[in-house]
């Protein structure tokens, strides 16, 4: 992004405060543009009225992220990569988390191929109220036979998740493109030998394309520049991912150098980067668990340092679960604490005799407590108190979790301790023990101090529930 203050964006807006974007003023809208929570398309006068066309174009140019954003696939599973503006996530946030593509080959038996693709498409890992997913399939042309490749592509395309076509042979890639029209796959890859033909394919079929030059940043930039000048817009960079020794160190350096140059304004290399942790399987590691661990470690390294899309092999849960969590970790927006709605939640099937607990609306806290309760079959009422998304210990210390706040949350949820339950008792988090006296006064209820860690709630319930009269 070339500008960083709302005032600079404001200059290009209609300045009528019409409110059509949902903001009260153009200045408020300008702030949303700057923190990238709003888009110019949200401003209908700017989009519709001809007189603003020039301003719109200029504003879009100024607001464009430093790293080009590229889309792969179509439909609801389509993915975006790139689009970053900073080198460190705390400076703003990273956008479009690293996308994980898993390999299949065009030499696989059809049944095995379909099963693997479905496993990739259906993978789910619960995290703070939603599911972390795997993103797509990379089809490797091991056969180098256009017909075989096309057949594999057809099978994979039926599942409907994004694809990367992997071959250096233009005839093979062309066959794949013909087999899956309008699927918007990513072509891998153009290199020093085949760039003309692959470039023409990218233009002809209007699909994103990877340019590849192993450990040669001049050559990589040359390919990217050549493609860009030819009118290819969606470019991804593959600087090579060496799996061991000095080669891996060099690969790591290359990722850093490319992204630093891109963020610093070298537009000719400001594209998303592809990492290939897959190469761990070429490093001669004999046992598959160790190879898988190494691949996962490589995936973590390149998720943190600027890999935007990667091709992986191991589908073992001990590989995929940490991989998707690492991408989530690095790409979570650090500006807003993750929070759940502040309200009364039912865990299991609570009755009027079930315990009532509260915790904070910090998503990590809430879901930890919730899953500790539900996974142990404890039916109960769980109130998420609005602490601005701060955890229990910190919010008690910082004053975001007080007896007043808890009472307020009960009132707003419409839950009546006198009517909705028979025991008029509330269990506080152990870390909020100091609120006990205050809570007794404010809620006119019995207060039980729970354990310091919600993991100990089952034992606590056994001892303390139902409460002694």
């Amino acid at each position: 992004m070339k500008i960083n203050s709302p005032l600079e964006a404001y200059k290009y807006l209609p300045q009528t405060n019409c409110g059509e974007c949902g903001e009260a003023t153009c200045m408020a809208f300008a702030s949303k543009l700057i923190d990238r929570s709003g888009k110019t398309t949200d401003c209908s006068p700017l989009i519709k009225e001809k007189k603003f066309a020039k301003k719109l174009a200029e504003l879009d140019r100024l607001l464009a992220p430093e790293i080009k954003e590229v889309e792969v696939g179509v439909g609801e599973r389509a993915v975006k990569i790139g689009g970053d503006d900073v080198l460190y996530r705390h400076k703003l946030t990273f956008f479009n988390k690293t996308k994980m593509f898993f390999d299949v080959t065009d030499t696989m038996e059809e049944a095995a191929l379909v099963e693997r693709v479905k496993n990739i498409a259906n993978f789910k890992k619960f995290y703070v109220g939603r599911h972390l997913l795997l993103d797509g399939v990379a089809i490797r042309s091991v056969s180098n036979d256009p017909a075989k490749f096309a057949a594999a592509v057809k099978k994979v395309a039926e599942v409907g998740i994004p694809m990367i076509f992997c071959s250096f042979n233009p005839e093979v890639l062309k066959a794949g493109l013909e087999a899956a029209k309008d699927a918007n796959p990513l072509l891998y890859a153009a290199n020093k030998d085949n760039w003309k033909e692959i470039g023409e394919l990218a233009l002809e079929y209007n699909v994103p394309v990877v340019v590849s030059a192993v450990n040669d940043l001049d050559a990589l930039k040359t390919l990217a520049k050549t493609f860009a000048e030819a009118g290819i817009k969606n470019i991804v960079l593959d600087p090579g991912t060496c799996p061991t020794g000095k080669g891996m160190k060099e690969s790591f350096s290359n990722f850093l150098k490319i992204r630093r140059a891109g963020i610093m304004g070298d537009t000719e290399i400001a594209y998303p980067i592809m990492a290939l942790p897959f190469t761990a399987w070429m490093a001669g590691i004999s046992d598959p668990v160790s190879a898988s661990y190494w691949e996962t470690a490589m995936a973590a390294v390149f998720t943190i340092r600027y890999g935007d899309i990667m091709i992986l092999h191991s589908m073992e849960p001990y590989a995929t679960i940490p991989e998707v969590h690492m991408a989530e970790t690095i790409y979570t927006d650090p500006r807003t604490p993750v929070a759940v709605d502040s309200k009364m939640y039912k865990v299991g099937n609570p009755t009027a005799d079930s315990p009532v607990l509260f915790t904070t609306n910090f998503a990590l806290t809430y879901y930890t407590v919730e899953s500790d309760l539900s996974s142990n079959g404890i039916d109960c009422w769980l109130l998420a108190v609005n602490t601005d998304g701060i955890g229990v210990e910190a919010s008690v210390a910082g004053g975001q979790l007080t007896a007043d706040k808890v009472k307020d949350a009960f009132d707003k949820s419409g839950f009546d301790l006198k009517k909705d339950v028979t025991h008029n008792t509330v269990i506080t988090p152990g870390l909020a023990a100091r609120l006990q006296g205050d809570l007794e006064d404010k809620l006119s209820a019995n207060i039980l101090v729970g354990p310091m860690d919600s993991g100990r709630l089952p034992g606590f319930m056994e001892k303390n529930w139902p409460p002694k009269k």
């Binding site: 033909e197 023409e200 233009l203 520049k225 060496c242 140059a261």
Partner: protein
């Protein structure tokens, strides 16, 4: 419009942006439908009259040129490539421009070698077009590579060096350790090309002063030594390649065994005798008891330069700092995911307690992958960046309680408590990788010392951090044909 195959080939060449390629010789063009015409000059063409290249473009625009044949070099040609800029017909550029210039240069060299004119463009003398391109693909948009040079600049603001802090005294330093561990000294983020990273990451493996509950995958490695801290420490060093040992005096907690400080100190002596690597000494985490326990431990370990863990804002850090200074140790400055608290505690240790800079290591708290690692990661990265840019209250090596990864349910639970989750697979493989990835991410954020537990985690973390550090030699792997790899 078609043209001679000889010009369609892309010779293998490279050159740098901003440099003009000058080719000196005279170029004759024989057009297929015209008599011999002489063309020469610097980016200009003389025919009946003086013409610019752009005019030539116009001239050729409507001509059905089948081929350019019999182009001959005779004498001097000067072609300035930067004259072939915007609006120029790429086809003609191809004919007269870059590739031709390179060919011309090539032949001009030959010419000067032989001292005679050398013809080019005669079909026999020209290599056939190399790539087998179907006509449909050979559109003009991708005619030639547009060369670009990649430039990289170091970060100018990284002007401050991280303090180097040694742990462990050898006999030369007045102690009995077999080696000394050196942490810190970085002038850039870890593994970055801006500056050489002077010291590799180090791993210290935990020992507890009593049998405790551990995740099953961890416990199987230590079960037979858990009643003997000395044996436990030995196993960590001899079998699991620990750089250091951390002895946790958890039995001193009044709520556990309330072991008196004096008795706990004996365990420290036992560990110091059992192994000769540097050691870290931890308390139970009880803020009332820890200062007393750690002070006593520091006393019995006098002169060994141990890492005393930890001083924090919610206990009597002054007592711990005082003992560390008196008995020649380092202090671990521990805060909870808050850079400003970290500055405050470091400042107090330096200003109030007079702890020298080369005796402070920071523990800004490690939250596990999936359980707040985003905070832990960014906290460390911010601390390290602030230090490199000159914040002297943060210029210290960092330590991570990586074992916190074992608190994540993904690392120890038999299976997911949630029905809709995909299968979590065998837990004995989940735990170690959870510890590896938690630690590895912090290694990249700036952490120097790792407090760990599982032997596999230790081995893999060491392997990957030392690979990025540059000290692992390996046969280069040819990844060029990864697409066809048999996996």
């Amino acid at each position: 419009m078609k043209y001679g195959a000889g010009f369609a080939s892309a010779p293998n060449y490279s050159f740098h942006k901003g440099k003009n390629l000058e080719v000196k010789s005279v170029l004759f063009l024989y057009l297929s439908n015209s008599s011999k015409r002489k063309i020469y000059g610097k980016g200009e063409v003389y025919m009946a009259k003086k013409a610019k290249l752009s005019e030539m473009t116009d001239m050729f625009k409507d001509m059905d040129i089948l081929s350019l044949e019999g182009v001959t070099i005779e004498g001097d040609v000067e072609i300035e490539l930067n004259g072939l800029g915007g609006g120029f017909d790429p086809m003609l550029a191809a004919l007269l421009g870059q590739e031709n210039a390179v060919l011309a240069q090539h032949f001009a060299r030959l010419a000067s070698m032989f001292g005679v004119p050398v013809g080019i463009g005669a079909p026999a003398g020209v290599p056939a077009a190399a790539p087998a391109v179907s006509p449909a693909l050979a559109a003009p948009k991708l005619k030639d590579l547009i060369p670009a040079k990649f430039d990289f600049e170091n970060i100018a603001e990284w002007a401050n060096q991280i303090q180097e802090v040694p742990i462990g005294n050898t006999s030369a330093d007045g102690g009995s350790r077999g080696k000394r561990v050196m942490l810190g000294g970085e002038k850039a983020l870890p593994f970055f090309p801006d500056a050489v990273m002077p010291n590799r990451n180090q791993v210290t493996i935990d020992v507890f002063d009593m049998r405790i509950g551990l995740a099953k995958a961890v416990k199987v490695n230590y079960d037979e030594v858990m009643d003997s801290p000395g044996e436990w420490a030995k196993k960590n060093v001899e079998k699991f390649n620990a750089d250091m040992i951390t002895i946790h005096l958890i039995s001193t907690d009044p709520l556990i065994k309330d072991t008196p400080a004096k008795e706990a100190a004996k365990t420290v002596e036992e560990v110091l005798q059992a192994v000769d690597v540097p050691i870290a000494i931890g308390g139970s985490g009880n803020p009332q008891k820890d200062p007393e326990v750690l002070a006593k431990a520091a006393e019995v370990a006098e002169g060994e330069r141990c890492l005393i863990a930890s001083a924090s804002l919610n206990l009597d850090y002054a007592k711990i700092a005082e003992a560390a200074l008196k008995y020649d140790h380092d202090v671990l400055s521990w805060t909870q995911l808050d850079m400003n608290s970290q500055k405050e505690l470091n400042r107090k240790l330096m200003k109030q307690c007079n702890v020298p800079r080369d005796r402070i290591i920071m523990d800004p708290t490690t939250a596990a992958l999936g359980y707040g690692l985003d905070y832990a990661y960014t906290n460390m990265e911010r601390i390290r960046l602030a230090a490199l840019m000159g914040d002297d209250e943060l210029t210290f090596p960092m330590s991570s309680g990586t074992t916190n990864a074992w608190g994540a349910r993904e690392s120890w639970m038999v299976s997911s408590p949630l029905k809709e989750d995909s299968d979590w697979g065998p837990r004995e493989y989940r735990g170690p990788i959870w510890e590896i990835i938690t630690g590895l991410s912090l290694a990249i954020a700036g952490n120097d010392l790792f407090m760990m537990m599982h032997p596999t985690s230790v081995a893999v973390l060491k392997q990957i951090t030392q690979t990025l550090f540059g000290s692992i030699e390996a046969e280069p792997v040819d990844i060029a044909n990864w697409i066809g790899a048999e996996v």
